[in-house]
Each structure stands twice: as C-alpha cells, then as structure tokens.
C-alpha cells in the first residue's frame, strides 16, 4: 500500500480493496518501524488517525465518501491543528497545543482525509536543510547521510519513504520545491493568495504559501483542489474561483513554449543537475514543446532582497512569542524584561535568532530606506522580469536547486546555506506558482526539475508536470530505505 499514489489509493478504497483503517494502520506501522531513523515526524497522531479512518470507512459504507475520504496525509508542523501539538519545529512552541484548526486543516477534515501526524521542519520554516529543527535533523531516505532539504523536510522525507502518500508543506523561499527535489517527490508552491494562510504559523507573511507534496503532479492536483480557495479570515487570500485541477491534466503539450532562463544555468550549477534538467527539456521537446532561452536579469538580486524582506517580516511576526499567553516561558523571571529576553533566548534556536536580529536591524531607524525600501523596489523589478518573460513563453524551466541534497552538517556558514535557494526564492518574491518534479539522480540523490508559470497558472503547470510524468518514471522510483518493511 505504501508505494501507491493518492490517486491509486483513492481507487483502491473506492473499490473496497482495503479499508481506510487498514491503510492507516499499515502506514502507522511503517512510521513506527522507520521513523526512528528518519525523524520525519514530530508528532504522530495514531489514535486520532485511526478514529478518523474509522469514520471515513463508515462514511464510505453509507455512500457518503468524497474523492479524498479516508486518504492518509501528514501536515508540516506549521499548520495549527486543534488539540494537537503545533510546534513549528521550535522549543518555543514545544508545549503549544493549538486551540484551533488552520483553514486548510478544516478543509482537509471536511474532505474526510486522515491526518497521520505533524512532520518535522526547520524551526519556524527558517532553513534549507531541516537541520534547524528543535527536534533534530531529518534524514534523506535516499541517502541517510544527506539532508532532505527544508524547510518542509519532514513532509518530503515522509512521502519519499512511503510513510504517507502525500503531505502539506509551506514555501516561503523554496521550502516545498527544494525538499521535494532533494527527496525525489513532486511539490507545488501555488500562487500567493491561492491557499489560505489562516492558521499557518507565519514566517514571512508576504511570501508564505502552503502547497501539496506528493509522488505525482496528479496527486498534487487532487490536494490543491481540496485546500485552495478564498478564505474570509485571510485578507490576502484571493477571491477567485478554484478551477478543477484534474480537468486540465489531459491537455497536449504540443506548441507549449518553454523558456529557459539563462541565469538558471550559470556558475555554481552542479553538472549532473544541469544534465538532468536539459534531458528533461528534451523530453518536453519530444512531446511537442518548443524551447527558447530567456533572461531574468534580476535573478541574482533575489537572495539579497529576500534576506531583507523575509527577516524583517519574521522579526515582527515572531514578536508574539513573549512567554505571556502561550509558548515557552523562562523559569522565575525577575522582571518583565527578563521574562521577555530569557523566554525568547531560550525558546528560539540560532537561525531564528539570526533572522530576527537581521530583520530588526534592517527595519531600525536609519536603515529602513537603504534596506527595506530598496529590497521592495528590487522585488518589483524581479516580479517584472517574470511578467516580461511570460509575455513570450508559457512556462519557465530550470533546476529546483543548484545541487542535489548535500550532506548533513555540510553547510555551517549561513550565507552558503542561503545561496542554495538561488532558483526558488525569486518565485516567492514574484508570487507566481512553481512546481518541482523528479527528473533523475546524481548517484543515489534525486534531482528536481522546476517548472514556473504565470500567476494562477496552476492548471497548466500541473498538466505540464503531469505530461512529463506520463513520459518518464523518475517519480515512481523508490528509495531502498524501508523496502524490507513493505
């Protein structure tokens, strides 16, 4: 069961091949057996999951099952889940049992899905390797010496290892697409505003977006359909109808215009990654697409702009963790300042503090114009690059990450870690959707092809990914890890 896609599982449940309870039990068994090594879950909600599966089976028996009823999922531990610990990978929220559900969690519950638990992540989604988690690093099931990527590293590793068929992640600068690439799965960052942010612990509000992580683009389409839509509780969610994402999946790619941004194939790109991406592009040509080179001239300013905007927003978003109403509180504070300073110093890890300090500094008097305002201006230029490119082409393609997964502990210097996100970060600044699909291997480590589309082009993007997956089988490959537990 563990090697099936969501789509296949849905068909099997509908056909009565097995029950949701059996499926859930089997996956919980795998988590139990394998996740000690992998560390992809922070919280496994076995009892709740079994109860939910039972309910799903009853609904099915009464003929009340929807397309997602009884399907097991996992949630990055950034989604608030009523009555379940929601830690955001931080000591700060280690004791936080959310009193409410995020909008997407509500939607998934209403769709009848079964949540197996909350997956590991970089602390407050700040990281590209899942090494900043308070709960320890996650290992990459393809190579236990490698990182799974981040920040949604737990979700990516859990799907890749067959612990769960799909999971939700969030992506602020590549946090869905990069771990999807590193773990050989498919991950979609939707257009900003497509999915409600209500109940998702905020990192950088103008960049954060939740999205599906699964084996296939088709599965991502199922999930996106379930979580997308306008939310009255999120002012930045877009009042725009949700298309049927499956409907587009059959369309031919004949005449598809693909742009290859020349800046995405420059210095620092691993040759194996480049070769795999170029090979993938050839597959598209064989499917009838035409390819041309385009330029996104401000690409190299994306990381600097991001490291002003994201930490600035984060420094403010994380001020609410003050030890007063929830979260970590230091022992015996001697006064108010001590309560704040020690609770926060103890509750936050090093990378989070680093970004809070950067953000606080760049917003402070005398620096605001030079940093924040400048970064917002550059942000407009970056968005304009994409708008211009999409005048000429339908989609852009390139690598999701300049290298395959690197070794655990390899990147000690924060700046070299930040530079990992060179191909993903601009997409968040521009708000456009992007998807990473498995496109080969460098040795044992997967390589991801990133496909970008204009605002709200998810239907086309998913189909472009889907057609590739019809023509290749990279997405069907499974790591050796956990095979014996089948």
């Amino acid at each position: 069961m563990h090697d099936k896609t969501l789509t296949e599982l849905a068909a099997a449940l509908a056909a009565g091949e097995f029950s949701s309870r059996e499926l859930t039990q089997s996956l919980l068994g795998r988590i139990d057996a394998l996740d000690g090594e992998l560390n992809s879950f922070i919280t496994v909600t076995a009892e709740k999951a079994l109860a939910d599966a039972e309910r799903a089976d009853q609904a099915r028996a009464k003929g009340q099952a929807g397309p997602l009823t009884g399907l097991p999922l996992a949630l990055k531990d950034i989604f608030c889940t009523d009555g379940v610990k929601t830690s955001c990978g931080s000591r700060m929220l280690d004791n936080f049992v959310s009193p409410y559900d995020a909008t997407v969690v509500e939607k998934l519950k209403q769709a009848g899905t079964v949540c197996l638990g909350k997956t590991n992540m970089d602390e407050f989604a700040m990281g590209s390797s899942n090494e900043t988690s308070f709960y320890g690093p996650v290992k990459n099931p393809w190579d236990l010496a490698a990182v799974p990527g981040g920040s949604s590293g737990g979700s990516a590793a859990a799907v890749a290892a067959g612990l769960v068929p799909a999971a939700l992640g969030t992506d602020t600068g590549g946090s869905i697409r990069q771990p999807a690439a590193f773990c050989g799965i498919t991950g979609l960052k939707p257009t900003y505003g497509r999915v409600s942010r209500y109940g998702i612990v905020a990192y950088a509000s103008s960049l954060d977006q939740a999205g599906p992580m699964a084996r296939t683009a088709e599965d991502c389409a199922w999930l996106l359909g379930a979580i997308a839509g306008h939310d009255l509780r999120d002012s930045t969610s877009v009042a725009r109808g949700v298309p049927d994402y499956q409907e587009e999946l059959g369309a031919s790619l004949s005449g598809l215009k693909i742009g290859l941004p020349k800046e995405y194939f420059g210095d620092g790109l691993d040759p194996a990654v480049e070769a795999a991406v170029r090979e993938a592009v050839r597959v598209y040509e064989s499917l009838g697409a035409t390819v041309r080179e385009v330029s996104l001239p401000h690409t190299h300013h994306a990381i600097p702009a991001y490291y002003v905007i994201a930490p600035a927003e984060a420094s403010s978003n994380l001020s609410r963790y003050d030890g007063v109403r929830f979260g970590h509180r230091c022992d015996a504070p001697k006064d108010l300042i001590d309560l704040y300073e020690r609770s926060r110093a103890e509750g936050f890890g090093e990378e989070v503090k680093r970004r809070i300090l950067i953000g606080t500094h760049t917003l402070s008097e005398g620096f605001f114009e030079a940093y924040y305002k400048k970064a917002q201006q550059v942000r407009r230029l970056i968005r304009q690059d994409f708008l211009d490119a999409f005048e000429d082409v339908d989609v852009l393609m390139g690598p999701a990450s300049p290298t395959p997964a690197f070794d655990l502990g390899a990147k000690k210097d924060p700046v070299s870690m930040y530079l990992q996100d060179i191909y993903t970060i601009a997409i968040n600044l521009a708000g456009i959707p992007g998807i990473s699909v498995p496109a080969g291997f460098a040795g044992s480590r997967p390589i991801g092809l990133q496909i970008l589309g204009p605002l709200f082009a998810e239907p086309q993007l998913l189909n472009v990914a889907h057609q590739y997956q019809q023509a290749t089988d990279w997405h069907r490959r499974q790591p050796a890890f956990g095979k014996e537990n089948a």
Binding site: F79, C80, T86, C88, L93, F96, S98, P99, Y100, A102, R197, Y198, G199, I200, V201, A202, A204, S205, S206, L232, R233, D234, S235, T236, A312, E313, S315, S316, L318, S319, R320, D322, V324, R325, F326, L336, Y340, T360, L363, S364, E365, F368, Y372
Partner: protein, 484 residues
Amino acid sequence: MMQWETVIGLEVHVQLSTRSKIFSGASTAFGAEPNSQACAVDLGLPGVLPVLNEAAVAMAVKFGLGINAEIPEVSVFDRKNYFYPDLPKGYQTSQMYHPIVGPGEVEIALEDGSTKRIRVHHAHLEEDAGKSLHEDFHGMTGIDLNRAGTPLLEIVSEPDMRSAKEAVAYLKAIHSIVTYLGISDGNMAEGSMRCDANVSVRPKGQQEFGTRTEIKNVNSFRFVERAIVFEAERQIELIEDGGKVVQETRLYDPDRDETRSMRTKEQANDYRYFPCPDLLPVVLDQAYVDHLRSSLPELPAEKRARFQDELGLSAYDAGVLSSSRAMAEYFEAVKEVCGDAKQAANWVQGELSGALNRENLTIDQSPVTSTQLGELIVRVMDDTISGKAAKEVFAALWNGEDDSADAIIDARGLKQVTDTGAIEAMIDQVIADSPVQVAQYRDAEPEKRGKMIGYFVGQVMKASRGTANPQQVNALLRQKLDNL
C-alpha cells in the same frame, strides 16, 4: 518680565463604537469578564490573521468628512513594533505613512464668542491595546485583553493651540463631532476618548517652537486643562531659572496636580514601522465616500451657524445649544413645539440647564421632555400663565406631578385672569378701599404717577392671588385712575 506663549498640540484617541473589533469578530462591549472577549486574533495566537472591519473604515471617513479633511484614495496599515504585555502581537497595527484621513480643520469657540480654526494634521485607524491590572496577584500584574483590538481613531492636531482653554475647547469640539456623528460614545470615564498633549513654551513673538514634552493620558477635560497649565508653568520656571526643557514623555498625576517624567531605563524607542504584510492597501472609491458624505448629520459648527443666522440666537447661545447633539436635538424639539427659538433657548439654558446641573443629570436624562417644555412655553406666550407661574409649572413637571403643563396649570389654578370685567371689578374694589392713595395719585404730577401706580397693581394682584395678567391690570388701572 518676559511674556510667554504656550504652544499645544493634541493627539486624541477615540474608540469607535463598532460592534466588533477592528480586525476580528470579537465583541467590543465594555465591562465584560477579563479576557472573555479576546478571541484568537486578539490574542495573537500563532497563525491568526486580521481582516478589516468595514464600520471602522466608514466611521473614520465620516470623521474626515466632518472636519472637511482630504480623504486619500489609498491608505495603508503599518506595524508599530514594541514589546508590552498588553500588546499581544508585539506590534500595534496602525497607520504611519498613509493614514485614512488627511489634513482637515476643526472650528473651536473661544470664551469671547469668537471662533478659531485648529488644523488637524491627519487621523489614522489603529487597534487599541489591552489593560494591565496592577492589583496584587502575588507581586504579578494581570493582563486583560478584552480591549485589545478595539478600533481607535487617532486624531493628531497641528500645534495650533495657544492656551489650556483652547486645548479644552478643541477637545470639546472633537468630542461633539464624534458624538454628533455617532462614531463614538465619547465616554472619557470609560476611556472611549483619551488624550495626549504636546506642550511647549516660547517667548511671545518668537517664531520657532520651544522643546516640547508629551503628557500622556490626560483623560478628562478638567485634567487636560490642569495638566497643560501646570506643564507650561513648569517649563517657564525651568527656563527662567536657566534650565532647559528636555524632550520627554510625562505623566499627569491628578492627585498631586503635577506632571512628572516617565523615567524608564528603556533606551529610546525605535518602532520599526513597516507596511503590515497581512493587510492590503485600503482603497476607497469616490462613490463610497460620496455615499458616506450624504449620510452625515448636520455637525456642530454648521448648527451653530444656523442657530445664529436663521434663528437669530446670540453667538453664546448658539454655541452652548450646539455643543452636544443631545442638547441641540432637545432645543430644536422645544423650538418646534413652541415656535419661538429665543424662548426655547432661554428655557433650555435657564430653567432646564439649572435643574440638570443641580441634580447632575445629562440632557438625555431630563425628567422634563422637550414636548412638555415646549407646551409650557406656549402657555407663557399665549398669556395663559404668568412667567412666575411658569416656573412653578416647570418645577411640578420636573417632579413628575402630572404629565403636561396644561394639567398642572388646571390642577393648581394658575390660569391668568384675562377677563376684563373680572379685573375691572377687582380694580374698582381696590380703588374703593384706598381713598387716601387715590387722592394722592390724583394730586400728583403726571410724571410721578408712574411710580405710584405700583401700589395699586400690587393690591389687585394680591386680590387675584397672582392670577391676573399684570400688563392688563396695569393698563386698566391707568385708564380708571386717570379718568376719575
């Protein structure tokens, strides 16, 4: 002696009377159990997001229109970042760079009857903070976040005021505008309206401003006046003694009637304002603004002008009667019933206000309704009762003796005797009973007779037990005596 001038600017925080909070669906009702009206959004729980309340926007725009302010098409919410236990998110959502209300002006009435225009720099929307309760919880402070997220309109004046009295007049003008508009209850005791005063002094005639201090939370008209007077004197004394005013925040202590420095160990604040990424720019189209404009009631300054120009009231009367919406509405209702603005003004400001003041009641609490008072005035004007009797009727209405002036007039037999025959009979009787006085009158020079007639009037009034119409008595007496 150097002549000093005080320069004052006020920042007035007005709680808008919306049902729900500015960014959440929690109730804004006053006086609930602690934290029972602090929802997930108000508490700043992880993951929550703000959504702007339309009524708060409408109220802010109405205020802007009420002070003839520019209403920019786009306004933006910013975050003001600082840590305080009553500020759940660690930032206050406010408007720093693009406020919802642009420059406008407020007309204030000065004591000498003249008016002065005070410029409003801008007004912006923001969320209120919670409250810290300093009662003893084993040496801890308790935090109640019910108030957190209540919409505030912060109205920032230019430093256009030159005395504590002007500052109070401005504050009263703001109070009457917001209550007229129905956008706030203006209840200062419950904190619905709060005020910070920026005060500086300079030698008369000097152009540049002196160093200012900010006095926090002067929350009654009286305290505003006293705090400014104290602070200006303190600054003058300081400068005259060779010292320098330090730019700082000071707190007014009403018990000691002084301001004192809020010395904290804190370094200077740096609020790190930046646009709130959870909220989008607020865009107001012209149709929306026009719709709000058409719904505006007549405002105090317009009312004051109309009372003067159309009703012929004095500047003073017009000012007093337009000072609050309730007062103006009461006055206009009385005027409707009695048909005479001046009589209505005299009664509302005289007998009625006196009685209200004595019993410490507001005009809404008046036991005498505007209709009752109007009908009473009608009876004075049509000579049914004398002015003296009218006061008696008013007192009876106030005490709830009966529910109309007419009923009381009947019950107490206060109707004036205007029947000429009856009065003549009384006059004849008095003349017959006062031969000595009649003789004196007859012998007197005509110019001295005017004084002497008073005796006869008094006798006739006495005989009528006050019900005879004095003017009529006077006229008939002259006629009779002069023709004897």
